[in-house]
Amino acid sequence: MLEHRKNRLKNIFLILLCLSIGVGFILYSLNSKIDLYLSPSEIDFQNLPTTRIKLGGVVKKNSIRYEQTLVNFTLTDFSGEIDVIFEGIPPDLFKENSGAVVLGRFSLNKLFVAEELFAKHDENYMPPNKNISSIYDS
């Protein structure tokens, strides 16, 4: 009986050990692979993030300019603004006053160079927890 219990305890311990090692690996991998998701007003220009980040906001009115194969535009959350440059063809739903999400880095001249550009396709412009209606009301 005691032997049986000992075995069971050993098994439980082994399973827990394997599980925590597994979760540890996953979390470690996550930490090096995730991108911060920020909105323009959260960017501190004195201290620009150096890693790749995701930026979400609304494309400012009359800010889209096409130059060769580059697209320039301004991303805003109505309290902060970031100039973005993207090489390529933006998605169909990319337009002024609509939500867009970009993935990329800041260049030295404070311009955000987007590697990827997504247009959101619902009425929810902002990164989560940022209520659009509260911005309009104020």
Binding site: G22, V23, I26, L27, S29, L30, K33, I34, D35, L36, Y37, L38, E42, K54, Y66, E67, Q68, T69, V71, E87, G88, I89, P90, P91, D92, K95, V101, L103, F118, A119, K120, H121, D122, N124, P127, P128, N129
Partner: protein
């Protein structure tokens, strides 16, 4: 009048489902009379019939352009062909939920009337089916009713279906996917009934196996169709983006794959009893979790469908209750399920178990990836996003190990161990061939092969070579070959190979061209010939015409940009020309100041092969129903 009729039928169906489950419970806990059991069954059938009728009437309403129904008015239009009038029903939340439930009832109704009614837990199956359906009907009617009307002023015409949804692949993608998701309600209900019934000698898997395989085929085909649609209609230019909406479809698929495999082991050598039960319960639970994620908007996705806290809360509570109930019963019954048969190490079922563990690991990793932004947000002021790099690094090693195990397991046998020497000998040939092939690609390709890509190539080659060798042996000896399994696994190997090849060889170029400009790279040349403006019934268009010349072969490409009148929506119509190895994929962008246009040219290698391999996997499973297994 008619919309109310459809609405009434759905309400009636919900009521009858509740009634059926109540009689069932009363009868089951008391004298278990045959008459009352018959009543439970008949009530269930009547409820199912009413729901089918309700959905049929709803289809009729959509075809007849009844714009007094708010949902139809905002998602359909009288100019649409009948095909899209019908498919507009599942183009948004309410209608797609209605379709989901109709399929749920359809599967369970088919199953209940197919199984023998002297089955020992027949009544339990009906009770749980009825409760499950009642819960979802309540969700539909209370929080997302597709029956609401616009009265007394009915709109003259509907707001039209989103043009990107007017596509045959999209019209059949949701139904296929739902048939897959919901199909796993059958094993779920069956397992719960089996556990409650308490006769553990009963071989529950026998009856459930074919149903699960069918549902697996639908799920696989549904995911494949969705990926295909995103590629050619949405103009995304890729097949998989690790978006939360895609991930929640992949989790039940992986669980379903693990489940069907471990059911096979259970069938052959009576091992993995409680493990298989657990997997069977988890497939449907993960499907429900997916429905919750997609329909509640808790996770920030580029394409979320409905962001309604009320719906989210209802679904969360309902899904949590179902999951908790199922797992509690499993845990309570677990000690009695004790199996004196253990897995012999080195046997086929041992390799199968190992791959099962890998699949569960990958489900767990995806789950963490999907939930991590939510967890992170709870403890931090800002948010994060988890993208492809995470999933790629997690999946590559798992697939590498899985491929080796698959290759070894081909030559293993059930219930007994093979000696290591023999296994090594058999593994040697495909192993060496795969290493050589991967090395050949590494040296001959102009691109740097990353470690992840090399793993993809090696794993794909290994699976393909292993099965080809078995097939080759079959030519000379009269050995038994499991054709359905061989074809499905060849499909899986080809899938890995195509994914690796696609990511290695594909080229993307953003171009700025004026009329008569050409662009040369390698041995190919792209020339921009002209641009035309035109008007159609419901949209205006810009159509560019380009020539792509490669090694003397000429491809005419005509990408378009359209503006639809009803919604003012702009869509791009990609033009794709396929050769054996690649797709020539071109998108038109914007006109810029000097009157030139931007284009995106993509050469997508092996992308057609990805869908072909998904077809092979599905075909292999369906073949099982026509080829007698030995």
């Amino acid at each position: 009048m008619i919309p109310e009729f459809s609405h009434l039928l759905a309400i009636l169906s919900a009521g009858l489902m509740l009634y059926s489950s109540l009689i069932g419970i009363v009868n089951h806990t008391s004298d278990k009379s045959h008459k009352l059991r018959q009543l439970t069954h008949n009530t269930f059938n009547a409820a199912a019939f009413f729901l089918f009728l309700s959905f049929a009437v709803y289809i009729y309403l959509a075809i007849q352009d009844d714009f007094s129904v708010a949902y139809i008015a905002s998602h359909s239009n009288s100019d649409l062909p009948i095909f899209y009038k019908v498919s507009s029903i599942w183009s948004a939340h309410e209608g797609s939920m209605f379709l989901w439930i109709t399929f749920l009832v359809g599967w369970l109704w088919l199953f209940i009337n197919h199984t023998k009614n002297d089955h020992e837990f027949f009544e339990l199956i009906i009770i749980f089916s009825a409760i499950l359906i009642f819960g979802f009907l309540l969700f539909l009617l209370a929080t997302s009713s597709p029956f609401e009307r616009i009265l007394p002023v009915t709109p003259l015409n509907g707001a039209d279906i989103n043009p990107v949804l007017q596509d045959p692949a999209l019209a059949i993608h949701p139904p296929m996917l739902y048939l897959g998701y919901v199909g796993f309600a059958i094993p779920f209900i069956y397992i719960i009934s089996f556990l409650i019934n308490g006769n553990f000698a009963f071989e529950w898997h026998r009856e459930i196996k074919s149903w699960s395989l069918f549902a697996w085929a639908f799920l696989t085909a549904g995911i494949g169709l969705g990926s295909w649609w995103a590629y050619y209609e949405l103009g995304w230019g890729g097949y998989w983006f690790w978006d939360p909406v895609e991930n929640v479809a992949l989790m039940p698929w992986l669980a379903a794959t693990a489940f069907t495999h471990s059911m096979h082991a259970l069938n052959k050598s009576k091992v993995l009893k409680s493990w298989t039960l657990f997997l069977g319960l988890s497939v449907f639970t993960l499907s429900l979790f997916g429905a919750f994620i997609v329909r509640s908007g808790v996770i920030d996705s580029v394409h979320s469908f409905a962001n309604d806290p009320e719906r989210g809360l209802f679904l969360l509570i309902f899904v949590a209750l179902i999951t908790l109930f199922a797992l509690t019963i499993l845990v309570i019954r677990m000690p009695k399920l004790y199996n004196n048969k253990t897995v012999v190490s080195g046997s086929k079922e041992s390799y199968l178990s190992l791959n099962n563990i890998l699949m569960v690991t990958s489900i767990f990793s995806i789950f963490i990836g999907v939930m991590y932004p939510l967890i992170y947000e709870t403890f931090n002021s800002n948010s994060v996003s988890v993208g492809p790099p995470f999933y790629n690094t997690i999946f590559a090693p798992l697939i590498f190990i899985a491929a080796i195990i698959i290759s070894i397991s081909i030559n293993s046998s059930w219930q007994r161990t093979n000696d290591l020497k023999k296994i090594f000998k058999r593994f040697f040939v495909p192993g060496i061939l795969s290493v050589l092939s991967t090395y050949f690609i590494y040296t001959s390709s102009l691109y740097n092969l990353s470690l992840l890509q090399a793993i993809g190539f090696f794993s794909g080659f290994l699976i393909i070579f292993s099965y080809l060798i078995v097939m080759f042996n079959k030519l000379f000896d009269k050995v038994y070959l499991n054709w359905p399994s061989t074809i499905s696994h060849l499909g899986f190997g080809l899938l890995l190979l195509s994914i690796a090849a696609n990511s290695t060889f594909s080229i993307e170029k953003n171009l700025k061209m004026n009329i008569n400009d050409s662009f040369e790279f390698g041995s190919s040349k792209l020339t921009f010939n002209n641009i035309q403006f035109g008007n159609e019934d419901n949209f205006e268009r810009i159509r560019a015409s380009l020539l792509f010349i490669e090694n003397g072969k000429i491809f005419q490409l005509t990408p378009e940009k359209r503006r639809y009148f009803t919604r003012g929506q702009i869509t791009s119509e990609t033009d794709i020309k396929s050769t054996f190895l690649k797709d020539i994929y071109i998108n038109i962008g914007e006109q810029i100041e000097d009157n030139s246009w931007t284009f995106r040219l993509q050469l997508n290698y092996f992308i057609k092969w990805i869908w072909f391999s998904i077809f092979l996997m599905t075909f292999g499973i369906l073949m099982r129903f026509f080829v007698r297994a030995q």
